[in-house]
Symmetry: C2
Subunit: 460 residues, 2 copies
């Protein structure tokens, strides 16, 4: 089987592939809005039909919400080959505010821009364009070779933009069917326009809300000020003491299960030449403000954090009220890495805060989400094969990178199906996902298809 022939087929078929994507983009499959329920169904049907046209067994599978689409290569195809599960989502974000769109969100088109051709429309990048890169790679492979190089299952959901309520139950009920050797997820981005990436570490998250209570009611600051404890000041003290002067988090035992970055990953990250000035400059900042002695990429990918997400207490309206508040509140989250145990850190944090409180103050905690970090087993040979394949397609070598946020689907594949996931995508920072004028570079689409063709060849 010739990869070169497949890549040529992809190049020749790009106009038709683009037309197919435009067709899918015309279906307004907004999952959060009940008015578009039928459109979600239509998008699922469209995918089922398209996958069947590739000779796959494909079905729309009902859920309490929008349907799943599941497809498999036929039993007699490639039975001795590795088995991959490809995940994407066919639902899209709402389009408000509509008046900020330069073209109607569901009348997608190919546009010329100063930076090259783009496919403009809601879902072009997130995630219809991305999922179609994989489907088109399969189509080209099949056209050239009559068969696919590995066993492939497809798993598309229609609720990703509305919290995926049906996903975990569906995965649990269909675990045997969905289990493969490895999952491929195409819902992320390039590191930069010339550098592809595989996300191999995702930070976990621990959310805590605390309420510090001092006096049993709001007090007049003239009558009590200077004598009575002020919970807002106490809260400020607690927050201030959560970091030391070097930006280290002071919660006892916090760093116990935080690994140092392996040398090979460190080298890959250094080679990325991350432009921290540009990254911070985009949001009006200029100076890395995190842990001393760490590179910016470590700060956002491989180091744990403690952030105040919200703070409130006392009088916050217009004007002034000389109240001494009874209570002060904060929402605080920790990004977790390595083998940090969210429950252990939750307990340690709570004990630490309790120990800090002065007389007459008490604290109540409300726990929010708790999920550990995800670390892919890159010693699975599939990772290195995919990284090499990507490196051949793009100007710069591919890197294993981290992701500061959480991508729940990767955790579900690990926890429910005991399967590593390779997060590979071709989106760009300026794709305007979740915003007006969403687009997907035609180059992302084209090279994305070629990338998957190469990865499939490498995994064969």
């Amino acid at each position: 089987m010739s990869l070169q022939a497949v890549l040529s087929q992809i190049d020749q078929d790009l106009p038709q592939a683009t037309d197919r994507l435009l067709e899918l983009l015309r279906i307004p499959s907004i999952s959060t809005d009940p008015a578009y329920k039928e459109a979600c169904d239509t998008a699922a049907d469209w995918l089922v039909a398209d996958l069947r046209s590739l000779g796959l067994k494909a079905d729309k599978r009902p859920t309490p919400g929008h349907p799943m689409v599941v497809a498999h290569t036929k039993d007699d195809d490639a039975t001795d080959k590795p088995h991959v599960l490809f995940y994407g989502h066919y639902d899209v974000q709402p389009v408000d505010p509509l008046d900020l769109w330069d073209t109607p969100p569901f009348e997608p088109e190919l546009q010329d821009t100063p930076k090259g051709k783009v496919i403009r429309g809601r879902g072009a990048s997130d995630d219809k364009g991305q999922l179609m890169t994989f489907v088109e790679a399969c189509r080209a492979w099949k056209a050239v070779n009559g068969t696919l190089p590995v066993r492939i299952s497809f798993f598309f959901e229609g609720e990703e933009e509305s919290g995926s309520p049906s996903l975990v139950p569906f995965m649990r009920e269909n675990a045997r069917e969905l289990k493969a050797d490895i999952a491929l997820i195409c819902d992320t981005g390039l590191f930069d326009e010339n550098t592809p990436a595989i996300i191999t570490m995702l930070r976990g998250l621990l959310g805590e809300e605390l309420t510090i209570t001092g006096p049993d009611r709001d007090l007049h600051s003239g009558m009590y000020g200077g004598l009575a404890v002020n919970p807002a000041t106490v809260l400020a003290n607690v927050i201030d003491r959560l970091h030391d002067e070097d930006g280290h988090i002071t919660v006892p035992g916090f760093y116990d299960d935080v690994p140092e970055l392996p040398q090979d990953i460190r080298a890959q990250w250094e080679a990325l030449n991350f432009d921290v000035k540009a990254f911070l400059g985009d949001v009006g900042l200029s100076v890395p403000a995190g842990e001393k002695g760490r590179t910016p990429l470590e700060m956002i990918w491989s180091r744990p954090t403690c952030e105040v997400n919200g703070i409130w207490g006392g009088y916050t309206g217009d004007g002034f009220k000389t109240v001494l508040p009874s209570q002060a509140h904060a929402k605080i989250s920790f990004r977790l890495v390595g083998r940090q145990d969210p429950q252990k850190i939750r307990e340690s944090f709570r004990d630490y805060v309790r120990d800090m409180l002065p007389a007459d103050c008490k604290v109540a905690f409300q726990g929010h989400g708790a999920s550990p970090a995800a670390q892919m087993s890159t010693d699975n040979p599939a990772f290195e094969k995919a990284r090499q394949a990507l490196s051949e397609e793009w100007p710069n070598p591919a890197a294993y990178i981290g992701c500061g946020g959480s991508i729940p689907i990767a955790g579900y594949f690990k926890n429910i199906l005991d399967m590593d996931a390779m997060l590979i995508g071709f989106g760009k920072e300026d794709d305007n996902i979740h915003s007006p004028n969403e687009k997907y570079d035609l180059r992302s689409f084209h090279k994305g298809i070629r990338s998957w063709a190469r990865i499939l060849a490498a995994l064969e």
Copy 2:
């Protein structure tokens, strides 16, 4: 002239004096509610008539809001005597929530309670009952002696409970008429049920609102957390650093104009045996949390403070949002004492905060109120005379005390009329002023009248 005869007259006339107060209390002179505009007018008329019945020149004086009542002893009365200006207010607080009143607020009555007889009704303590203590003392004096012992002007306003919008313009326009040797204000309380007090120091107030801005929009804490500066954490650091470990305020120069308490005042305060456990216990606290090395009364009366009145930033709704806020805000107020200059402290505070900020953070300030502390010139002999007179009436000696909050009228007399004020009142903590079931102890009313009779005698 015999003080004893006047006191006997007061004792004998108490039932009639109480009836007169009940009559005034029946007039629903709620100043904030336009529906009661006529009632305010009626209350002013009632006072004019009552003062005229004492042989005074009394008039209702229009303002853009509710009228003032101004009265004077006749020109040929006591021209060689000291001249005092007595201030009170005839307007009352609204009565909501009405269903929490055990008896209708404007159907006042004398009630027996386990702690003694009380006059129950809106305004009984704040301020109709208090202002009538002085009027009744004058009535008794006049009944016994045919004349008053000093020259007296009366100045009653009807907007005290709605911010006194007409007060300052009226005082400015009528400064010559209102100027006296000293002002007497009856709108405060006893130190405790057996200990009268004259407030001689009132803390000033400086309000500041600050907004710390980091990134130019709210950020995703997964994407930027650990690298980007968090203004909520910075704000916590700023607030934390405003006090040192001993509870001292760290703003440069803050204590420059803060005097130590004179030895005689310190001795008076020590003799008060202030029950700090009870004071804090009332609001669910037990331990003085203020400046180390200071007594509780110093903390609330004679020491400056820095309090957080409100704090907010980021996501404060239900649930959790892993946002890294662009801004964090606080409302901070300083209680000022001695000769602390509000403007100087405002500038010093702003410079201090600016100097504290890390890279990429900026701060914007909004100034709120700024008023200096008021310190009465207790070397004016009237103070010591009044203190002795009060000490003769009550079980415990009277004390010069402080007031942690501000009482604007005292400052106006000082600043507009260049006149010290003696703040003497007979209210109690449990009078429920501004709340349902307001009352004034009959003992406060009775001994209040006797107190003023003694003070008038002393000032003669």
